[in-house]
């Protein structure tokens, strides 16, 4: 699913997506199998998974990390993201 806005803020202005720690990732693909929004992709010829579509990630969703046995997925700080969203909304309401 590609959401174009989140709380009226353009999705691509919100920094919210998983980051993969390749030191921990064991290439089990549980996260890619689980995520219905096609955030992750595996490139041909590379066993590593990549965050190919970060803006498909549902803001504040961390469900993939709850499937990750090796704890290789991390997300930004929620409160910082909320502050960012509020700031953008305030700027856009002023304009």
């Amino acid at each position: 699913m590609s959401e174009t806005t989140f709380m009226s803020v353009p999705r691509d202005k919100i920094s919210w997506h998983p980051t993969i720690d390749y030191e921990k990732c064991n290439f089990c693909m549980e996260c890619a199998t689980f995520c219905p929004h096609r955030v992750f992709e595996q490139r041909e010829g590379d066993r590593r998974l990549v965050v190919a579509n970060p803006n498909n990630c549902v803001v504040f969703c961390r469900a993939c990390s709850k499937t990750c046995g090796p704890d290789a997925l991390s997300f930004p700080d929620k409160q910082a993201t909320i502050a960012q969203i509020r700031q953008i909304r305030e700027q856009e309401s002023v304009q």
């Binding site: 699913m1 590609s2 959401e3 989140f6 709380m7 089990c28 549980e30 689980f34 219905p36 549902v58 803001v59 504040f60 969703c61 961390r62 469900a63 990390s65 709850k66 499937t67 990750c68 046995g69 090796p70 704890d71 929620k78 409160q79 993201t81 909320i82 969203i85 509020r86 909304r89």
Partner: protein
Amino acid sequence: MNSAILSCTGLDKPEGSVAREVAIRMASSANSEIICPVLLNRSLARYKKVLAENPLIVVDGCSTRCASKFAESLDLKIDRKVLVADASKSSGLTLEPTLNLGANGLALAQTIVDGLVQSLTAPASTTQPAAPSTEFPPPGEYLVVTHDKFEFRIPSTDYWFNENDVWVRPLGDVARVGISDYMQQSLTDINFVDAPAMDLAVEQFGELGTLESSKAVFEVVAPVAGTVVAVNPEVLSNPTLINEDPYGKGWIVEARLADWKQDVDLLLDGSAYAAAVKHKAEEA
């Protein structure tokens, strides 16, 4: 209080070794009967009596949650759960990177055992969730979003939603929180509710517990900031109530509101959420 305990086998990661150690210590110090997952897989009958007569504790090592998934596959009723990886983070005890437990691993195992023993032996009055503080009338009219063969209901008034499919219904300075019809259908049958602690103070978009189904672990993203004042005891014992009546009897938490006026700015009313559900259903 006696119990049955099903743990990770402890043969893949240090977290698993801690789970196994917890089971062993619970057996020796707290009258728990260990359910060997390998033997259970071969012979459910071997454990039928102990599972029927005792609350089941499941201890998962990591987020793969093999033990939980195995229990769910056998339709075993889980009384309480521990995830060692989370316990490691919350306790600050970082595990040594070996299957043979080091000092931190052993300390973490004992910390988990102490917590389990305390929760099993505490008087019911201290472990039972508080009763709902307010009578909330049932939802009135619904909006209905149709997609293929699916219908998703959304109360047209009195309920607000975040874009993470969690609703809030304020009444005075208290609000009820639950998940939407769209999300309960997406998750399918919910089989475990990990409720937030009483008196927990949560920020808007913070975590208000998790719901587990065979499809996913769903984080209940708080639609409002507040303090937990009640947890629905009915959904703890019967999680599928959330599937059956997501806006009524399947409520999850009550919270005393911290700043409704600020929080509502980042929420959707029924008609706006209906538009969001339509978009989600079409894109899914």
